[in-house]
Subunit: 397 residues, 2 copies
């Protein structure tokens, strides 16, 4: 059984704060602070250019890819880190479309995170005539998986509501219709068990600054199923995805398997922070994390619903079809969230009316949830959100 | 007059090392080490998600873009940081091609850094029939700028030899033929004066881990001329380039001007290190840096040629057509470079036979150059490179 008191002690959590926004940016692992300090001085400072070999900088994208891969059920050697999630979406969908050349429609849903849709919109414009991005309601996805579709691109867990798609069933249905799948695991990796190999997913992408606690701007990851890895063409064909980057050939020749999905120089400082953050997972079992996440979410729903009739549950009540967050709808949700943040309960707001709270057992426990419920009840019952200063919108919400 | 002793004191330089590889990875600015420490603890640690506003994380790509822009002659508000140089090349060339839709040929030269060619090769494959990447000798570029060419993409300073293109003349010739230009400033930014606005360059891209000392994996930058900024379509259309990223619209609407070239979540830790590194430039005048760089380069050529007849100058002798590095050809250059590194003179090797040395006045002075020449002379005159251990190739050269 995972010792969650021990994992909680591995993070810096500010005094007086209950942090329910780890689904947006995970908190600082103490080891990351120390590791970055020594990477700056002992690696960059002392090794200079030789750090690429001596400190293993060049190997980090593959080594860390495997550590992330273990949490998402990927075959070893089939995940690599780099770039941002937006870029990795582009790479995955571009590759998937080429592997299914007779078709031109990408299917997604309107619960997807917008950048996934934007990137594909941009890609399809470049590809030209006939390509189409078809966006349907989440509930209508299955019915729209037809022999017309080239690629199904979905985010497994909805960023606003936490609604969770059935990856295995939708992937099977896709394959039965000759459709390839691209799964965005932004709200899955580190939040719940994922079994990419078992689901026979074709491509997957995700970020590491949420449930993996890699820090602001931590790099993304991409997975390509072994059966596609040596056939997929990386539309973003950069030198570090070349079969021999330091031969400096004039022509591109893709590297072996997932290595070809590397593009440019890896962000060593960000990878160093992420590497330290991944050590927390050596202490945690994903099945325990999932069970504890469900318990915390259920405790939160029960407490908030009992105390705050103004708040309407936006997340599924059934934990089997829910990720690791709970959202409530409230017309003045933006102001209410500011009032909560002022009282030390940090969640976030998503337009138009969603108050979002993430539950992350690695550092949030039952006592935190009980205290958060009390504070929410106080804010709502006493209309503490109804003050002008809470209604001023910040640049980043 | 720039006080180069003062700028040198702003870097950590390992004891006993003469670092002539700042053209590949700049050394650690002391301020970067301190700044990262406080960003980890006081920003990520204490502010958590609120750091995006409170610590100004979200504004860094534009703020730092302007600071880099000052060194390359860009109009204020027309440079933004993000991604890697490879990704920014893709973005720039994709946009430029769309702005010149009647033509389908991208012209470049075989002195370009390979990833630029690879990225365009990948892009043109996605764009489909009729697109062509035409790669000629550097000396043949001007003659190949014709009305058939859509985009001229060149790296101003050759990564192997330091040969420098005439940006102003080639841009003028391009415009006279209806060709748009994409300039890669990887070996220019921070190395020599660049006047993007004065040259009427259309697009420019570059990296910040070389002469700008931003650290391993520091982000790239992109410039779009004001006359194109609101017309260019970012093929990589991510949410942070959206006009209203936090409205979470389902459809993409490009942001104003250069903001649209942002893609995904910015790498805050890397940007923090770069921000500290840019402070060094508050102490330095680019004209002084250039004059001192030429003096150091000339001193090095003279010293090495006098002592080492086996080494053949690969860089232009004329400083007017040269960047801030000096390269020599030597058949056993790889082993010779390892022998030098073992003796504290760090340069690097580029296949097949190039020994490359960068001269960076911010932290390299005449005494360093004189000492480096002595050590090179010792290695060459006594064939110290001719040992088996120096011939074993590392993964990253």
């Amino acid at each position: 059984m995972t010792d969650f008191a021990a994992t909680k002690a591995m993070f810096h959590l500010p005094e007086g704060v209950i942090y329910l926004d780890g689904n947006s940016l995970g908190p600082l692992p103490l080891a990351a602070r120390d590791r970055i300090g020594s990477a700056m001085q002992d690696e960059w400072g002392e090794m200079l250019i030789t750090g690429w070999n001596k400190a293993g900088w060049m190997a980090k994208p593959m080594a860390l890819g495997d550590r992330v891969g273990q949490l998402i059920g990927a075959e070893p050697g089939h995940v690599v880190m780099g770039d941002t999630l937006s870029i990795k979406v582009y790479q995955a969908v571009a590759s998937a479309l080429e592997l299914n050349p007779a078709r031109k429609v990408v299917l997604s849903d309107n619960g997807n995170f917008p950048t996934d849709l934007y990137m594909v919109e941009g890609l399809l414009k470049s590809l030209g005539d006939g390509y189409e991005l078809r966006v349907v309601d989440p509930e209508a996805v299955a019915d729209n998986i037809t022999e017309e579709i080239a690629v199904l691109m979905l985010t497994e867990v909805d960023y606003r509501t936490g609604r969770k798609h059935d990856m295995k069933a939708l992937t099977e249905l896709s394959h039965a219709n000759g459709v390839l799948t691209v799964w965005d695991l932004a709200h899955s990796a580190g939040a719940l068990p994922v079994d990419l190999a078992g689901c026979r997913a074709d491509f997957a992408v995700g970020c590491t600054y949420k449930y993996l606690n890699g820090g602001p701007g931590a790099p993304a990851f991409i997975y390509v199923a072994p059966r596609h890895a040596d056939a997929a063409r990386p539309a973003l064909s950069g030198w570090l995805g070349h079969d021999a980057p330091f031969a400096f050939d004039l022509n591109y020749r893709p590297g072996k398997g997932i290595e070809r999905m590397r593009v440019g120089t890896p962000p060593v400082l960000q990878l160093t922070a992420l590497e330290a953050a991944m050590d927390v997972w050596d202490m945690a079992d994903m099945a325990d994390v999932r069970a504890q996440s469900i318990a915390l979410c259920d405790q939160f729903i029960e407490g908030v619903e009992a105390a705050c009739p103004e708040l309407t549950l936006a997340s599924p009540r059934d934990s089997a079809v829910r990720g690791s967050q709970i959202s409530f709808r409230f017309e003045d949700g933006y102001a209410a969230m500011q009032a909560l943040i002022a009282r030390g309960v940090i969640g976030d707001f998503r337009a138009p009316d969603i108050m979002r709270f993430g539950f992350t057992p690695l550092y949030i426990d039952q006592t935190d949830v009980a205290r958060a419920v009390e504070i929410i009840a106080d804010v709502m019952q006493n209309r503490l959100w109804d003050r002008p200063e809470y209604k001023v919108r910040a640049a980043v919400t």
